[in-house]
């Protein structure tokens, strides 16, 4: 019973912060709400037994990526982007029915898939750090190494883009 209560609390906070991100005008508020959301997801990773991912989520997302976002928002003059009337308001408000349709589709697909997939024989909590590390350095060794190349390429690309008048 206790984990379910915790899940409902965390899920409520996650949905509320996500809605805040989408609905609030100020991008800084959005960025801070997104940090809350990422923290909630890290907590859910912990509940799922994915300790490494919870730590990586906090360090990489809530730490590095969100700091980048906050820096970018500060560089780009906050609060002056979405002022004034929206010339395409009617089109943008289509997001609500489209989102409802998407949610409906996802629900139908997931319910159908749930009926098709048999329940797991034994819900083994095999998601510990050692298992993940072994998997990353054996079966997924090549993608793991390619990740470093990808990050290097991203770094070089950002340097090029950020140069004065590239």
């Amino acid at each position: 019973m206790m984990p379910r209560v915790a899940f409902v609390l965390i899920a409520g906070l996650a949905v509320a912060s996500a809605l805040g991100l989408v609905l609030r005008r100020n991008p800084i508020h959005g960025a801070l709400l997104l940090v809350v959301n990422l923290g909630c997801i890290a907590a859910l990773y912990l509940m799922l037994g994915a300790e490494f991912l919870a730590a990586a989520q906090v360090i990489v997302y809530a730490g590095a990526i969100m700091v980048l976002f906050v820096f970018a928002i500060m560089v780009l003059i906050p609060g002056k982007e979405e002022t004034g009337p929206d010339p395409r308001r009617a089109w943008r408000l289509l997001a609500a029915p489209l989102g409802a349709a998407l949610l409906l589709e996802l629900g139908v697909i997931l319910l159908a898939g749930r009926a098709a997939v048999p329940a797991p024989a034994a819900p083994a909590p095999a998601g510990n750090v050692a298992a993940l590390g072994r998997l990353l350095f054996t079966d997924y060794l090549l993608p793991f190494e390619l990740t470093s190349v990808l990050l290097l390429a991203a770094m070089v690309g950002v340097l090029l883009l950020a140069r004065r008048r590239a």
């Binding site: 997801i41 991912l53 034994a122 991203a154």
Partner: protein, 100 residues
Amino acid sequence: MVPDTWYVALSAVLFTIGVCGVVLRRNPLVIFMSLELALNAANLALVAFGQRAGNAEGQALVFFVMAVAAAEVAVGLAIIVAIFRVRQRLSVDDLSLMRW
């Protein structure tokens, strides 16, 4: 023990909110953040499915998604800042041309 369907349902809700944010907002930074939201929702579903399958493959996938997301955010923000330098205005409606 929380049933894994709950996690997947939460993931679907968060993904939908993220997609709505991408459609609804005009500020490219907020659109980008909504994108991260949707990405995280997918990650949550991956971890939940991985737990159901009883191995760490789902978590390995999430690890790679995180690495790609870090690279994507760095390059994307650099592009947005570069566009802002040229345009001095930040709305996706201004960015309908491929070059100028």
